[in-house]
């Protein structure tokens, strides 16, 4: 539950952003993140909220673990399940 999930901002509408998570588009809220978020930025998200803008130089390193977990199919894998829950916490994208 404290894992968080990184994704790329592909749309912004007020306090909501459309974020691409490994190919899945979802809506997240921008109430909690402290820095201005722009299109193309990567953000770390927790229970449907962006909590941190990830500096561009750090993006590749941050994504590695998550890509591996996103590919894990084992139902018993708690870390991978946590990632799926984080995705479920985001809202369906209207676009």
């Amino acid at each position: 539950m404290c894992l968080g999930i990184p994704g790329k901002v592909i749309g912004i509408d007020g306090m909501e952003a459309t974020v691409d998570f490994f190919g899945v588009r979802r809506q997240v809220r921008l109430d909690v993140v402290d820095e201005p978020v722009a299109l193309g930025d990567y953000v770390l998200n927790h229970v449907g909220f962006a909590i941190r803008r990830i500096p561009e130089s750090e993006v590749a390193e941050t994504l590695k673990l998550f890509e591996e977990l996103a590919a894990a199919a084992d139902e018993q894998d708690l870390l991978a399940a946590d990632l799926r829950a984080e995705l479920a916490a985001t809202q369906e994208s209207k676009k």
Partner: protein
Amino acid sequence: MSAASSGVAELKFRDPGRARELTTALARLVQGLHRAPVTLMHVCGTHEQAIARFGLRSSLPPGLRVIMGPGCPVCVTDLGEVDEGVALALQGVRIATYGDMVKLPGSSKSLADAQAEGARVEVVYSATQAVELARASEEPVVFFASGFETTAVTTAAILLAKPPANFSVLSAHKYVPPAMEAVACLPETRVEGFLAAGHAAVITGYGLFEDFARRHHTPVVVAGFEPLDILAALVKLLEMIRDRDYGAANAYPRCVTREGNRHAQASLWRVFESADGPWRGIGVIPNGNLQLRKEWAALDARRRFRIDVSGLQQKARSELSRRCLCGKIMVGLVEPTDCPLFGRECVPESPVGACMVSSEGTCKIWYQYGGRPDLGGGT
């Protein structure tokens, strides 16, 4: 140990050379301290998941113990708090809560038991979804909210965003730093350093731990969740112990800063205040609970409803729950495999203690990833 049967992923580091450097450094540092075992504690269920999933303890030198402390917010949710949720549900109030909370035992019933008796309990993945349930109807919806500061800031955000009048919050949110304080004060734990949770520190910043480290002569290092992140943080922690450097360091700079997310901190403390409260199995943690400030009374389920838990609290604890060692596990005094119930009477399908209920509980993590996720390091 077979990876397929245990669920433990085969340990493959992204950069084997770097991993070797780090594990060699760990061995050298532990040896140089001339006292074994050296015990380090992390306070994050996600760290334990990563350590267990990647079988990381097998890479630790003998004489280095890495144990999990009170890092599972659902596990430390007190019986009395569950009773409040159950009582409200049985009174006919619709409850929205995170999935792990549903099976969590109260004094005599869980929310799942209440559900079986006809109460309406809905699982949500976010505070926003709880608000949406309220928007979709006229009846009261209570969000039974759990989680540490990282999750509490999102509850704060939805309250600040003016939820509908039929929405309110029953807060079981907890604040980690006071629990670290409590563990550091236990003479029998002998924790020499703490790994702080990466994503809680995204919010609070690592500077928060400087005063704690100084007072307890116990360094704190913020760690990320990659196996290499965790090894690097352990190396940093042992170096600080060796140098008697009782401060806080950041081994997760790609997500954490010294100051943290100030905007989120301001929102958190606008909505919540810390209060003394019991943590399951551990006892009263001074300032360990996050309760709504009185300005938010209209959205505070405890002030809005008369919650009568008396009918739930009279039952004596069962023989099984008396034998459960969750409390001692959560402060690092014993390990899940020391508990006579682990994997026998207590399994994820029928958990006795909270540590087997939540996916962040030490027992559930060890059970799911194949018993004791430790192939050598430790004792």
